[in-house]
Every structure is written in C-alpha cells, then in structure tokens.
C-alpha cells in the first residue's frame, strides 16, 4: 500500500482556484521533490496536506495509509504521522521550546495509545535528537522560534521533525533564506532522518537543496498541475533552462 495517494486534488483560497487536479503517489522510504515556479501551487499543496483551513478543497481525494485525510483536523493529521516543516516557522512568545515540543510529543503518543513521557525522559530524547541534527542546546531553552535567525528557525523545524518521528515529512521551501553552510547542515539533518519507513516530500523552487537530498523522484508543478515527473536529471534540467519551457509544454 502506498503511504500517500493524492487523486485529482483541486483547492482554492479566497475563491481563487490554485490546485487544478494534482495526482501524486508516495511510497514509504521515498524522497520526492516537488519543484515549480512562483505561484504554481507548491505551498498550497503543502498547506492542504497539513490541513490549513484557510484553503478549501473543492474536489479530489487525499488518502494517507488508507485513511481519508480530508476528514481530519490538522492535529489529527499530525498525530497520524504527517509533519510539515514550515516555510515561515511561527514565533510563540513566552512558550519554551522544550515545553512546546514535549506537549506535542505527548499529544501524539496519547493519540497512538502510548504512555506519555515525563520531563526527565523527554529531555533525554530531545538531547539525542538535537545532537543528530546538530542543533545548539541553547535553542532548546528559548521560546518557540522567538528571536531565532532564519537558519535557526529552519534547523529547529528539522529538529522537531526528528523528535516527532513522522511517517511523512513535508519540507515547505526549507531551503529558502539559507546560506550555503546552513543549507548543508539542514539537509544533512534531513538525510539522517531518511529511512525505509518514512517518506519525505521536499517542496522547493531551486535545485540546490536537491544536491544534498538526492531525491528518488522529481515532479514539476505548474499552474496547479504536475506537468512532468522524472528522476533527479529533471531537477538539473530546470536549473539550466528555468521553468518557462515546461509551462509552455503544459499549456
């Protein structure tokens, strides 16, 4: 059974149609890249997958591990194992990173019928994961994303992913705003989280993060549809020629 199956998905925001029939199948262990020009619907796709209610799904289906994802609230989706690394991670003033993540971690465990972990145990888990994705311990003590640099925010997202251990991770333009060194660290963290059970969908405008992630499958999204699917060579082609030739092909 595939992990994620998107069938003919159409979605709009404020009455404007953005996704116009997306089809996508993701299997466990795969890394997919979804590339596309600005306004093609990349971020809409990730927001719809995560359940952002600002977007309206007008038709189509999303099946995750055999379940109808569209009937689930965002927190249920998260508990089922969907994680989204935000393009713009949100600051939550006054709420400690550790406390926030422990609350989330235990909410997910509770949903799955597992016992909640106490603070001592959680800190152990957290330190281990922080090391894995090379996150500075100091960030654990600060408030959620408050005053973090762009790179720190993105690293914090990958760290949260490591702790929450999702089945499907959606990286929404995780590379945007990162310099080369930060990009390498962040991508390095993601690579360490690759395994045969987990799938990763990396949404990006640029090819450069794919040099580190080496996706199995690359899709090009243009004007709300996937117009081309191929291997990593497709990403290089985009890097050389831009998106214009593909959009013409789609029309």
């Amino acid at each position: 059974m595939s992990l994620l199956e998107i069938k003919n998905l159409c979605a709009s925001i404020e009455g404007k149609q953005i996704l116009k029939g997306v089809n996508l199948t993701v299997n466990p262990g795969e890394v997919h890249a979804i590339m596309g020009p600005n306004g093609s619907g990349k971020s809409t796709l990730s927001q719809v997958l995560a359940g952002n209610e600002a977007y309206e799904v007008t038709s189509g289906e999303i099946i995750f591990e055999g379940k109808n994802l569209l009937e689930m609230a965002p927190d249920e989706r998260a508990c089922e194992g969907i994680f989204m690394a935000f393009q713009y991670p949100v600051e939550i003033p006054g709420v400690g990173n550790t406390y926030f993540l422990k609350t989330a971690y235990n909410a997910v465990r509770k949903y799955r019928g597992l016992e909640e972990v106490d603070a001592v145990e959680f800190i152990k888990i957290m330190k281990e994961k922080a090391k894995l994705v090379e996150l500075d311990d100091k960030l654990l003590k600060r408030n959620v994303n408050e005053g973090f640099s762009g790179g720190e925010k993105k690293r914090n997202e990958i760290f949260q992913m490591a702790v929450l251990d999702p089945r499907l991770a959606i990286l929404d333009e995780t590379d945007s705003g990162l310099d080369v060194d930060a990009l390498r660290t962040v991508a390095g963290g993601v690579n360490k989280l690759r395994d045969e059970k987990r799938a990763i969908v990396c949404i990006t405008h640029y090819q450069r993060i794919l040099n580190y992630l080496e996706p199995d499958i690359v899709h090009i999204l243009a004007d709300g549809r996937i117009v081309r699917t191929g291997g990593s060579e497709l990403a290089h082609e985009v890097e050389e020629k831009g998106y214009a030739w593909l959009e013409q092909g789609a029309a």
Binding site: A73, P93, G94, A104
Partner: protein, 480 residues
C-alpha cells in the same frame, strides 16, 4: 467549520462554582441606614471608635454620588434593595475552632478545593475563609502565633487587637476615599487582618478565600495587612460566588502598610461569577486596593482576574519612602459580556523610588478590556523610575481592548517608559501548534499562557497552576 464568532457565542464552559450551599442564614433587614450600621457594629461587639468611624463614613457616603467615569455602563444599583449583613446562622456565638464550624460550610470550601481541616494538619498555606459576611475559620493560627504573627478575621482583630486596627485602619484608604470605599467603610462585614512583627519573615503563604453565598447580598470585606519594619509576607486571595440571575455587588477594600524595609506580596485570583453568556447576572467587582511603602519597602500586586460581570479596580502603590518599590502584574480576561476596567496607580513621592507595571488583557466574545493606569512622579521624587508594559490580546472580532495610560511627571530626573501592544491571537500560531499534534483548545491555552507568562511567574507555585487552569476554563471555545 463555523466562524470564530459563532463558536465564541455557542461554546462556553459553564461556571463551575455556581452552586449554592443550603444553610440557614441570618440577615440584617434589607436596605441601608444608620440603624443598620449600628446593628452591624453591635453584632460584632465593636468598640466605640469602630462604630464612630463607620458612622462618619456612612454620613459622608450620603453626600457622595456613584462615579460615572468608567469606560462602560452599568445599570443603577439600588442600595436600599439589598442585604448588608448575612451570616451563617449558628446557635453558638462564634466558632472557637474548626470543629465547631457548620459542616455544610466546611463542605462548601472542600468543593472549592480548600479543605480547611486538612490544611490545618498538612504543611501548606494558612487560610482564612470568609463566607458571605463572616470569617469561618483560620487555619494555622497557633503556629503563626509563635512567631508573633497575627492572622485572623478582621472582626477578631477589632476585638483582640483594637490598638493595631485603630492605628492603621484608613491610613491608606481613608473613609472619604471614593464612593465604594466609603460605603465599605460604613458597612464592611469581615475580611482578614494580618500583622507581621518587626524582622519576621512569614514562613508560609497566607490566604483568604471569599465566597458570596446568600442572594441579594453585597459583600464588603475589609482587609488590612501591616508588615512591620523588615518583615516579609506573601498573601493570596481567591474568590467565587454562586450563579444568580441578578447582579451582586462586591465592594471590598484592601489596605497594605509596608513599614521601613518591609515587603508585602499580594496575589489575587478572582473568579467571581461572570454572568451567563448573554450578560445576565454576575458580580460587580468594585474594589479599592492600595498599599503604602515607607523607606526601602516593597509592595508587589499580582492579579489574575477571570470572573465578574464588571471588574473595576486599581491596586495601587504610594511610594512614600525613599528607595521604595511598587509592582503591579495583571492578567485580566473578559469573555462574553464581561467588562474589566483595571490597572494601577503608582504614586512616586520618595527619592529613588521605582515601579513596574505589566498588564496583560485578553478579550474574547464581546468582552471589553480596559487598562487604565496612572504613573505620577511628584516634585521631590528625584531619580524615580517607572517601566510600564501593556499588552492586549483579542480573540474574535467583536471584543475590544482599550488603554488609558496617564503619566504625570513633575521631576526632570525621572525615567518613565511605556510600551503597549495589541495583537490578535494568530490563526497561524494555532495552526502551527495543531500541525505539531496539539488540539485547538490546547493550542489556545499554550499561546495564552505564553502571553501571560511574565505575570504567572510572579504567582506562588500552587496558585500559578490554578490560574492557568482558570484561564483555560474562561476561554474555552473562544477561538474556532
């Protein structure tokens, strides 16, 4: 998915403390006149000076008009159509120990989560519980007495320590102060009295729990706390009331006196019945709280105001002595039709005095939340400092937040800072939390608690936990 407004209107957790205790009550006749004042005083075996003080207040009150300046309107209060004295009826003149207190009343406090009897045995917080007009029992009295600390009901203090009461009563809030404080001075029923002797650090939190039980009854407590030179005390106050369709008046007065080098920390968690979701019923919480600091003294007010139909109060500090410090930390929540007009006054008189104001207002439903604060630096208050931070959070689009800061500086060496922010609880913040697995309610609680953190961390540990719970109950279903 309903719009957030619909959700605000439809979903609200019921007030948990709305039950009534069935006990026989003894009332004074309805209405107010000199005879009632005399009767209250006689019921309490008060000395002559006390009765005279009450009568002076009453006669002064007759010449006063109810203030009209708050931001909101409230219906006229018929002062002749309520009881000014209600007490649990008892054959015995006065309970000497907790064993003699009516078991029904003790059961009431147990329901509220303060089993007095257990508290007497277990280490923890010393509690004075006031039921309608009468104090029903003070725990830990003996232990505190060893240190020379007096912690008792106001009536007992008048009886057993009249010299202290006479010396300090009305020295911070004179009986002429304002309409409600003057009314309180005439008819106040009971309350708590604390005296910490020179150099003594009170080893435990002192606490009063107020409950209005009888219908059509005003509750007029009077609390007086005196920390003698170099003393320290931390005092907590909690309040609840049954659900009634009419409005009930609660006009309390709290006076704090911090002598040289003394520190008083006063924390309130106010959860009076707020009325139903259409704005019927609820407590009018019109309270005067003020403290006076002598040299090097410090008074710190912390309040979490989640209840009452209308809250109208300004816990203030008169920084009279040099180097004295005043603090005010406040969280005020208004949901449905609740209104709060609250803030503080920091009056700098001595040199090198400093004050800090941190106010967090949260509005939901059609609630209105007002911060009103005065920072006054007098001519001789050299090098005075004030820092004020006022943050407002809005939930939904029918509530309001208003800020009226008054700054009056008459000395050029003063440093006064004022920061204010207003934000809407972010859909993006809620979504972010939900994406990590938190339910919407948990997400709102987390965000609101983060917003209030600077205030909550000023509360004693066990109160901080209670305050967080109260906040989540008050706001349940506010964002949809």
């Amino acid at each position: 998915m309903p719009s957030s407004d619909e959700t605000i209107q439809s979903a609200l957790q019921d007030y948990k403390y709305g039950w009534v205790t069935e006990i026989e009550q003894e009332y004074a006749p309805k209405g107010l006149n000199e005879d009632i004042v005399r009767m209250i005083s006689a019921k309490k075996n008060e000395p002559e000076f006390m009765l005279e003080w009450r009568l002076r207040a009453y006669r002064h009150w007759l010449k006063m008009n109810a203030p009209q300046w708050p931001y909101f309107e409230y219906g006229p209060i018929d002062y002749q159509n309520q009881y000014y004295y209600a007490a649990p009826k008892s054959d015995k003149p006065k309970p000497k120990s907790l064993d003699e207190v009516d078991p029904e009343i003790l059961a009431t406090y147990e329901k509220l989560g303060i089993p007095l009897k257990e508290q007497e045995v277990l280490a923890g917080v010393a509690v004075d519980a006031v039921f309608d007009s009468v104090s029903v029992g003070t725990t830990y009295k003996a232990k505190l007495a060893e240190l020379g600390i007096i912690f008792c009901s106001f009536s007992e203090a008048v009886e057993n320590h009249p010299e202290l009461v006479q010396k300090y009563l009305g020295t911070v809030v004179p009986y002429t102060d304002n309409f409600f404080a003057t009314l309180n001075s005439a008819v106040f029923s009971d309350g708590s009295f604390v005296y910490i002797p020179k150099g003594v650090r009170c080893p435990m939190e002192l606490s009063t729990y107020f409950r209005i039980n009888a219908a059509d009854t005003g509750q007029f407590e009077r609390t007086l706390i005196v920390a003698d030179e170099g003393a320290y005390v931390s005092y907590l106050e909690g309040c609840t009331a049954p659900k009634r369709s009419g409005n009930q008046l609660h006009a309390a007065v709290v006076e704090l006196v911090a002598l040289k080098d003394a520190t008083i920390k006063y924390s309130t968690v106010q959860n009076w019945y707020p009325g139903d979701k259409d704005g019927n019923g609820g407590i009018y919480n019109f309270v005067t709280k003020r403290g006076k600091c002598l040299e090097n003294a410090k008074i710190s007010w912390t309040q979490v105001e989640t209840g009452s139909a209308i809250t109208w109060k300004y816990p203030s500090c008169i920084l009279q002595g040099d180097n004295s410090v005043g603090e005010f930390y406040s969280v005020a929540v208004t949901n449905n039709h609740q209104k709060a007009d609250t803030g503080t006054k920091m009056v700098h008189i001595g040199k090198n005095t400093s004050s800090t104001i941190v106010s967090k207002g949260i509005s939901a439903g059609v609630g209105q939340n007002v911060y009103r604060g005065l920072v006054q630096i007098n001519k001789k208050a050299g090098n005075a400092r004030n820092y004020t931070q006022c943050d407002s959070m809005l939930m939904g689009d029918k509530c309001g937040a208003h800020t009226f800061p008054y700054i009056d500086v008459r000395n050029n060496s003063a440093h006064v800072e004022h920061e204010a922010t207003t934000s809407k609880i972010g859909e993006d913040q809620i979504f972010y939390c939900q994406q990590r697995g938190l339910s919407e309610e948990d997400a709102v609680n987390l965000i609101v608690n983060g917003f209030c953190k600077e205030v909550f961390r000023e509360l004693p540990m066990e109160f901080a936990v209670e305050a967080q719970k109260l906040l989540s109950i008050s706001l349940e279903g506010s964002v949809g």
